[in-house]
């Protein structure tokens, strides 16, 4: 994957976000390269889209969280940061455009774009969040039987129906300024559900405000 090829994929991403028709001609024009080169590098249209999805996924690898001295405050802080980070990702125009493409392709089983997005989006964040949850349980500040259930509950509290609404074109699904607030609310609610007595979760009134 040379520098030039990455520039081409960035041009594809830009076209996706723009909402323009994603034709090979449009990509070649936007990336200032020839269609022949596109086919030589990526095989066919599907290969180009797949490479674009992988390229975008490789750019989202966010930092990990240190697991030392995990008290209730540090856990809350880490969870809230996770939530805000994830909300920012799924609300970004790039993510919305990419998921729309993947979903369109999932309809006709012509490729596994959906699987790739799934693996690099949902499942990847699970692999990063679950260790944090389990560390919280070992530290005695979280209580749950099934890590997967707890993880998906957190995902549900954070994301709610925001992503589907955005995919359907609802511009008001979430505002930029709401992300931090929503992340904090979801974290409080999660700790109310899964925190132990040592968690010192806020009372319900603040969780529902």
């Amino acid at each position: 994957m040379t520098e030039r090829q990455q520039a081409v994929l960035d041009a594809v991403l830009a076209l996706m976000v723009e909402g323009d028709a994603l034709t090979m001609s449009a990509v070649a024009r936007a990336a200032s390269c020839s269609k022949e080169t596109l086919y030589k590098w990526f095989g066919d249209r599907d290969g180009l889209l797949t490479a674009t999805v992988r390229w975008q996924a490789s750019k989202v690898r966010a930092g990990n969280f240190d697991r030392q001295h995990l008290d209730a405050g540090a856990l809350r802080e880490s969870l809230a940061r996770f939530a805000a980070n994830w909300l920012g990702v799924i609300a970004s125009p790039t993510s919305v455009a990419l998921n729309r493409i993947a979903i369109s392709h999932a309809a006709s089983q012509e490729s596994n774009l959906g699987t790739i997005v799934l693996a690099n989006g949902r499942l990847a964040i699970g692999e990063r969040l679950k260790p944090l949850l389990e560390a919280g349980r070992e530290a005695g500040i979280l209580a749950f039987d099934d890590t997967e259930t707890a993880f998906r509950t957190f995902i549900g509290l954070v994301g709610r129906d925001v992503q589907v609404r955005l995919l359907l074109g609802d511009r008001q699904a979430i505002a930029a300024g709401e992300i931090e607030r929503d992340a904090a609310r979801a974290t409080d609610q999660f700790l109310t559900l899964y925190g132990t007595d040592e968690t010192a979760a806020p009372s319900l009134s603040s969780a529902s405000s």
Copy 2:
């Protein structure tokens, strides 16, 4: 909307679910009608899709819930039934196919299919659920400031990321047998967050099992 026209729209739905290419020729073949008739009845391809979405929405109008003698048990029962009903809808092949079509069209602003699906799906269930939540608050068994926030929290707890995963082609996002259990879990969690002392919500251990 004659009987025959509804049969055509049902054929469109069947094609959508099947995952076949949704061409006008395919629709005419599946519905045993001529393309000319399709254009006379629905104007163009977009009109056909719009009519299909509306037709499907008109079939999902589920029964309302009686609001008399709303004690904690009745509220829990109503919420769980709501949750199970909604999960069944979003997990149905028809809903998945329809949302995929709408999302594909939302990408290129050529029509407002996404808006229609949004209005008949998410917003419609909100109009049916919010009165129940507010009745619970008036009865003193729920406590929240903002109805919209409480509603969306419930939606998040019930649906989690199931719908997006299904849209992306994840067949294991939810199993048929899990719907009742997930609905009960989400209801318990919601009552833990928003119930009052009179709600008698189950302890955390059962909510997280």
